[in-house]
């Protein structure tokens, strides 16, 4: 197998232009779904049945549908059924936001569950303001449980952006695949793609390390 990275000289610019779509999609999805995930997590753990049960049902359904199908529904089915027409990038962001809100929502819910029940009761008994105590008391304790899977799913999402090619978003992998067909150089092109994804992921790993230091748990096994 001869390995010739010079293909990046000719095809690199075309592939890298797709990084714009990849990053817009990623940033859009991560930023929008973060607050929604917290709300979903709270609804999943709510004491009120009227909040909890619909959230549980929706979460089960949305997590069960392959993300590609959600994108298809956003881009191909909504215009026909509800006359909602979004361009492909918007539809991709909307579809991924919906999916990630519930995936991340479950992560947040698990974090809330990790805070001993007594504390919730104590806050209620002391009549502390709900939002403030959530932000100052509950969430900081939940962070060690939330951060690792939250970052994992964000890293999953980095690679997931490639699915948007099926609804016409010419993101990086769609372009890379076209370049592979035109040049017959799959290994060289895929290595490059992996490195670029690696760089994006490195930022997320750094974020995880920083936040884990901040909310350090300090529990260690001696063995």
């Amino acid at each position: 197998m001869d390995f010739d990275l010079s293909v990046w000289m000719t095809r690199g610019p075309y592939i890298l232009r797709g990084l714009y779509e990849t990053l817009v999609l990623l940033a859009g999805v991560l930023v929008i779904s973060a607050p929604l995930a917290v709300l979903t997590g709270l609804a999943l753990e709510a004491r009120s049945r009227w909040l909890r049960l619909p959230a549980l049902g929706l979460s089960w359904l949305i997590r069960g549908v392959p993300p590609l199908i959600i994108l298809f529904i956003a881009y191909y089915v909504l215009p026909v059924v509800l006359d909602i027409r979004m361009d492909s990038l918007t539809a991709a962001v909307a579809g991924f936001v919906l999916y990630n809100t519930f995936i991340m929502g479950e992560v947040v819910a698990a974090g809330l569950r990790s805070v001993p029940k007594g504390q919730h009761e104590a806050i209620a008994a002391a009549g502390l303001p709900w939002f403030r105590s959530l932000r100052r008391i509950i969430l900081p304790q939940a962070m060690p449980t939330i951060i690792p899977p939250y970052v994992s799913y964000s890293m999953d999402m980095v690679k997931g952006t490639a699915l948007a090619g099926a609804i016409g978003v010419t993101e990086m992998v769609t372009r890379a695949n076209q370049a592979i067909v035109a040049t017959n150089r799959p290994f060289e092109i895929l290595i490059g793609v992996a490195i670029i994804y690696g760089i994006i992921d490195a930022f997320l790993i750094a974020l995880q390390m920083w936040s884990e230091r901040r909310w350090d748990h300090k529990g260690h096994l001696s063995a």
């Binding site: 000719t10 298809f72 191909y76 215009p79 090619g165 099926a166 372009r175 035109a182």
Partner: protein
């Protein structure tokens, strides 16, 4: 009386048959030029966006629609669709979409036109989601093997490992022509993977179209492959038109007939190094 009548009508019939032939002898049809006038712009009522022809393409078919070094879509089909749009008085808009999205997009009214060369089969001909246009090519499906292999005919492929792009007719036809069971064939995700699997020896032959096979032989390192001389199947392939747009179907069918007659299709095939099958298209009546 009755006898006379019968004879008379027989004579009349014979005359009626002979008369036009006698007239036709006065001129030779081979000199005639057929008029292929058409309205410009062509009034199309059902386009998704007025003034635009939205075409879905994967940009992943060598010679037909692919990304050039300048990063632009190019190829014989891109040229043909661009010319078609111009002749219809429309602006072509190409949407680059993965194959998984082409058919849903046509069904959902996102694209006016799609598919760079859909082989006709029963399911596709009878679909309610889109119309198949007249053929743009005769789809010749072949088997590609390594040049240094002993395989020279389809019979040699009985019992060897075969593969091809999963779900494509090219693979199906190879399976049928070599008497394999469908589950035994390696269903690969694309042409690149098929080529690699063949090079690696993971398969001994793969089924593909003559267009793709020719492009493969001409590509870098293509001299290590050969195409078996007997095709696995010969059919036709055309484009897919949004089922909401019967007027566009008529227009596209008309233009394909025109481009075949005036040599546009042949010219583009030559330009992009594709095997030209324009002459063979008369088998399907035009």
């Amino acid at each position: 009386m009755t006898h006379f009548r019968k004879t008379a009508s027989a004579i009349a019939m014979t005359l009626a048959l002979v008369a036009p032939m006698a007239q036709a002898q006065d001129f030779s049809t081979s000199d005639l030029e057929v008029s292929l006038d058409f309205p410009q712009p062509w009034p199309l009522e059902n386009l998704i966006e007025d003034g635009k022809l939205i075409i879905a393409t994967t940009g992943k078919t060598a010679g037909e629609t692919f990304i050039g070094e300048n990063g632009e879509l190019q190829g014989a089909r891109i040229d043909l669709w661009t010319k078609m749009a111009e002749d219809l008085g429309l602006e072509p808009e190409f949407v680059r979409v993965d194959w998984a999205g082409v058919m849903p997009g046509l069904a959902a009214n996102r694209f006016d036109l799609g598919c760079e060369g859909a082989s006709w089969n029963n399911d596709r001909l009878t679909s309610n989601d889109f119309f198949l246009t007249r053929p743009v090519k005769v789809a010749i499906h072949v088997a590609v093997v390594k040049k240094d292999s002993d395989y020279d005919s389809l019979d040699d492929l009985a019992g060897v490992k075969i593969g091809g792009v999963k779900g494509e007719m090219e693979l199906k036809h190879l399976v049928e022509a070599t008497g394999h069971a469908e589950e035994d064939a390696l269903g690969l995700p694309g042409v690149t993977e098929s080529r690699l699997a063949l090079m690696n020896g993971q398969i001994d032959a793969y089924g593909t179209g003559l267009h793709a096979a020719t492009a493969l032989l001409e590509s870098e390192g293509g001299d290590q492959f050969k195409i078996l001389s007997t095709p696995t199947s010969v059919g036709v392939g055309g484009f897919c038109v949004n089922a909401r747009e019967p007027d566009l179907l008529t227009a596209v069918n008309f233009l394909l007939a025109k481009y075949r007659t005036d040599g546009t299709i042949r010219e583009l095939n030559d330009k992009w190094g594709l095997p030209d099958t324009s002459d063979m298209l008369s088998v399907v009546g035009y």
